[in-house]
Amino acid sequence: MSVNPQSKLFRDPLHGYISIGDDLLPIIDSREFQRLRRVSQLGVSRLTYHGAEHTRFGHSVGVYYLYKRLATELDRRGAPLAQDDLMAGLSAALLHDIGHGPFSHALEGILTPGRNHETWTQEIVTGPTQVNEALKTVDEALPEKVCNILKEGSCSSVLTSLISSQLDADRMDYLLRDSMYCGVSYGRFDVDRLIATIVPHGSSPFIAIDGRGLMAVEGYVLARYFMYWQVYYHKTTRGFECILRELWRYARNKYQNGNLAEQDVPRQIRPFFQEAVTLDDYLNIDDYDIISALKLWQASEDPVLRDMSTRFLRRHRFKSIEFNVNLHFDVQDRIKKVLERYNYTEFQCYMIFDQPSSVAYDYYTAGEEGEKPPILIIDKNGSATEVSKLSEPIKALAGRSKNRFNLYVPEECVLEVESIIRAGR
């Protein structure tokens, strides 16, 4: 199967050579796609794993590569995609993260409330952008086709499942890529075996795994689990994400209340604080702008802005206290009194509660019967079974959610706060 005989080779640290056809190169050369070189894949994880400096650019090319491999395997299994569909799918794979903002998920929901990265992706693909022009050069209807594949409402096609399901190219790439760049082995799984045992399935989720690939699935599910708890929900990373989020909120509120001068807000940031963000404003901002703002605020007259910016830039982290009980209001009040004694009166910034549901990544859990999307294993008779019913390790791991909550406070407060929490049980 080939899309176009003319192509360019991209040398990817994870997948090796990736060939991309000339017809899709204008997407990569577009202003919007090149911006992804300045949007980190893992946000602030580099403050925990210093190698985690990879970007959305590499990940997007990687997803394209795996999508193509999956489509090739389906073709081999007698379920080929039509040429037009394949082009739409590959374009969608390249563009699935085009709408990510600076620091990726760390500032999601905060940067542009009410408009997440998927919304921006739709706007970039359909709006007056170089990406849109590049797609239309191939096919006038291609932007709409790509949007339909990426839209959250899209449900009924293998094209979408290959990008967004329990066994999709996106997850496969980021698990392997994040694992490699972080320098951990948790995210490694046998991707070749997994792809080789993909089989088409007549109804949603449209792809399943041949029974002979069960162990590869086990490795994949374990990879998701370990990467979640060791990387994506790492307490140091989450602590800095919390700092960044609360700092942004604090600065924005100060600006909106007239307590932060125009010259103290970089020009690219102002539309976000004014909550009047155009597509152009969004495309103008990347990781470097956020860091520039923090550097400016490091010298702010406002002590909270100064302190929080410095903490982030110099890696002065909050300490985390893990707990798993409800903290009653009186316990919270006592914690606030401790913080007050240390002159930390902006409780929103200095007493931050974090929980697993706030993390964008997830790991596989089986759920109640009929509740959630399953990973299906197909036996030699063609029957489909949810994987945890066939695999003891997955059953043990995916049977129930594990919960761990963290409260972040400044280091000098941690002992007193910890004893309040323990006594409050």
Binding site: G109, N116, K151, E152, G153, S154, C155, S156, S164, S165, S203, S204, P205, N324, V325, N326, L327, H328, F329, Q332, M351, F353, Q355, P356, S357, D362, T365, G367, E368, E369, G370, E371, K372, P373, P374, R400, S401, N403, F405
Partner: protein
């Protein structure tokens, strides 16, 4: 600190108890569509709109003793779950209101009670049709898609018609927006 869980806690306080996670998912989805203060992201899959974030939040509320999960095993071995607010969950609601936290759920309690009175099967159909129509499908196409991809549910024409009427009556049919 736990304001995140307040909308869910308020919902459970209003309806009393919900039978099954699938049903809970659909109620929250429809409440969100109706303008309720729920921010979870839903994706569509085989069984209709589903939110991984909501599922995680429910587990967290259980772990924090804000929610009670009561499991019942039927003679055939099928496990069903019932959810209600715990004592701590009720306290969270009460203390949040007293401390001035915005405790508005943003949707008519009667709407929540009506949705809760329906079976999981009905709600799955209503939620699926709503999601598909909001994604741009015409009514007939949404019905066809549901019947095709949920063939094992054997939804009848009558059930689909009733579900569409329900959506229209609740002002949730995007093809017939309420004035």
């Amino acid at each position: 600190m736990f304001e995140k869980y307040l909308p869910l806690a308020l919902m459970l306080q209003i309806v009393g108890h919900v039978s099954g996670r699938k049903k809970l998912q659909k109620i929250i989805y429809l409440a969100q569509a109706k303008g309720g203060a729920f921010n979870e992201k839903f994706k569509y899959h085989f069984f209709g709109p589903y939110s991984e974030t909501l599922a995680a939040e429910l587990e967290e509320m259980k772990a924090l003793d804000l929610l009670v999960e009561h499991a019942t095993v039927s003679p055939s071995g099928y496990i069903s779950y019932e959810y209600s607010l715990s004592h701590d969950g009720k306290t969270l609601v009460k203390e949040s209101c007293q401390s001035g936290v915005d405790a508005e759920i943003g949707v008519d309690p009667e709407f929540l009670m009506r949705m809760n009175s329906k079976s999981a099967r009905e709600l799955e159909l209503i939620a699926a049709l709503h999601y598909l129509m909001c994604a741009g499908m015409a009514e007939s196409d949404a019905v066809s898609a549901v019947k095709l991809h949920k063939a094992q549910q054997h939804y009848t024409d009558e059930e689909c018609k009733k579900a569409l009427e329900e959506l229209r009556a609740e002002g949730l049919n995007p093809h017939f927006p309420q004035s």
